[in-house]
C-alpha cells in the first residue's frame, strides 16, 4: 500500500499542476458556458420568452392566414397564354374576392371566373357591361357600335364576331392575347355570379 501511495504521489502532483487550466481547457470551458447561453437565445428566438403567448400568436397567425387566403385574397397561378402579355404563363397573382362588395365589376377589370368551383378558374378582362352590345370587327371591339379604346391591347388581331346583346346580369369577358385564333380563345358572356373577384397586379 505505501508503495502504491508513493507511486501515486507524483501523479497527484501532476493533477495539482494541471489543475491550473491550460489554454485549451479555458477555451473548452468558455464554450461550455456559451453553449447554454446560445441555446437559451435560440430558444427565445424560436419559442419566445413565454411559450404560451407564442403558441397563441402562432394560432392567431394561422387563423388569419387561413381567413385572408381563403376568403379575401385568393392566391392563383396562371396557366395558359390567353392573357399574355399582361399576365404571363405560370406566374402567381392574388384575387381580391371583396373587390365587388361595394360596386359592380367595371370595364377593363381583370377578373377570375369560376367554373364548378374555385380550384380551376378562368382569368379574363371585362369589356362589356350588362345591357350593352358587344361585337368584334376586324379585331376592334365595338361596344354599342362604338370602338372601344383598349390601351392594354398590344398586338393586332383579325377577330370578327357579330353583335351580342348582354343580359341585365351578364358581362362580356375576353383575354388580352388576341393574336391567338378566335376559336381557340375562350371568351363570351358570363353571368355575374361566376365572377369571383378582381385580379390584383
Amino acid at each position: 500500500m505505501p508503495t502504491q501511495q508513493s507511486a501515486l504521489a507524483p501523479l497527484a502532483g501532476c493533477v495539482k499542476l494541471y489543475g491550473v487550466m491550460t489554454h485549451d481547457q479555458v477555451e473548452q470551458s468558455n464554450a461550455g458556458s456559451k453553449q447554454p447561453r446560445l441555446h437559451r437565445w435560440v430558444r427565445i428566438a424560436v419559442i419566445g420568452h413565454n411559450p404560451k403567448v407564442t403558441l397563441v400568436r402562432v394560432a392567431v397567425l394561422i387563423v388569419t392566414c387561413f381567413i385572408v387566403f381563403k376568403f379575401i385574397l385568393l392566391p392563383i397561378r396562371v396557366e395558359g397564354i390567353s392573357m399574355f402579355p399582361t399576365y404571363k404563363d405560370r406566374s402567381w397573382y392574388l384575387v381580391n374576392q371583396l373587390a365587388y362588395l361595394r360596386h359592380e365589376p367595371q370595364r377593363g377589370d381583370v377578373v377570375s371566373i369560376r367554373l364548378a368551383g374555385l380550384h380551376v378558374m378562368f382569368m379574363k378582362r371585362i369589356i362589356g357591361l350588362p345591357g350593352e352590345s358587344v361585337a368584334f370587327e376586324n379585331g376592334r371591339v365595338l361596344i354599342n357600335g362604338e370602338v372601344l379604346d383598349e390601351p392594354y391591347e398590344k398586338s393586332p388581331c383579325d377577330w370578327n364576331c357579330p353583335p351580342v346583346k348582354l343580359g341585365p346580369d351578364e358581362y362580356y369577358d375576353v383575354g388580352d392575347n388576341r393574336t391567338m385564333p378566335q376559336e381557340l380563345h375562350k371568351h363570351g358572356e358570363t353571368p355575374r355570379y361566376r365572377i369571383v373577384g378582381k385580379v390584383l397586379l
Partner: protein, 186 residues
C-alpha cells in the same frame, strides 16, 4: 377526474361510432363523389398501354354509364358530338386511348345535388385533362346526371356547361385540339 375521463371516453366513443357509421353507410353524395373520382382515374391512361389493358380500361369506363346514356359534348376546341349508347362510349374511349399517349384526367371541383328521393343526382364538375407533350391542360365544366340503378349510381346524361358562352361560327367545322388552362386558366 374519473368523471372527466368518462366524459372524454364517451365523446371519443361517440366520435368513433359516427365515423364508423359514415364509413359503413356513406351518404349518396359521398358515394357519387367517390364514383366520379374513380371515373377520372379510369379515364386517365398511361403511356405504352397494351391493347388488352386499353380494352379493359375502356370496358371499365363504360361501366360507369347506364346502357342508354346520353352524351352531349360541345367543345369549341375539339368537336361537338353526341353518344346515346354505352357501347359507343367504349368505342370512343378505345379510340381516344389509342390516339393519346399519356392522359391525366382530374375533377378538381365536384358539386353534387341529390334529389329528395335519393334515386337521382346531378353533379356539376370541372374536368381538367392533361395530355402528355402538351404544356397546358384542357378545362371544361360539365354536368353529369346520375341515377341509382340496381343499387349503383350510373351516369345517364353528360352535357357541357358553357362558362363563357360565345359560340364560334365555324364551331361545327373546325375541330382542332386546343390546350389551355390549369389551376387558373387564362
Amino acid at each position: 377526474m374519473k368523471i372527466v375521463f368518462r366524459i372524454v371516453l364517451v365523446a371519443a366513443l361517440a366520435a368513433l361510432g359516427i365515423w364508423l357509421w359514415t364509413v359503413l353507410f356513406p351518404s349518396p353524395e359521398k358515394v357519387i363523389r367517390k364514383r366520379l373520382t374513380e371515373l377520372a382515374r379510369t379515364a386517365s391512361s398511361s403511356p405504352g398501354e397494351s391493347d388488352l389493358a386499353r380494352l379493359a380500361a375502356a370496358r371499365s369506363l363504360a361501366g360507369f354509364f347506364s346502357t342508354n346514356v346520353e352524351l352531349q359534348v360541345e367543345l369549341p376546341e375539339l368537336s361537338r358530338y353526341s353518344i346515346m349508347d354505352r357501347d359507343e362510349i367504349m368505342q370512343a374511349a378505345l379510340m381516344a386511348r389509342s390516339r393519346t399517349g399519356e392522359l391525366k384526367v382530374k375533377f378538381p371541383d365536384i358539386n353534387v345535388t341529390v334529389a329528395p328521393d335519393k334515386q337521382s343526382a346531378v353533379a356539376d364538375l370541372t374536368v381538367q385533362a392533361n395530355i402528355s407533350g402538351e404544356t397546358d391542360s384542357i378545362v371544361q365544366e360539365m354536368k353529369f346526371t346520375l341515377q341509382k340503378i340496381d343499387g349503383q349510381w350510373l351516369i345517364i346524361r353528360v352535357e357541357t356547361v358553357r362558362t363563357l358562352s360565345w359560340r364560334p361560327q365555324i364551331y361545327f367545322h373546325h375541330f382542332e385540339l386546343c390546350t389551355a388552362a390549369g389551376s387558373f386558366h387564362s
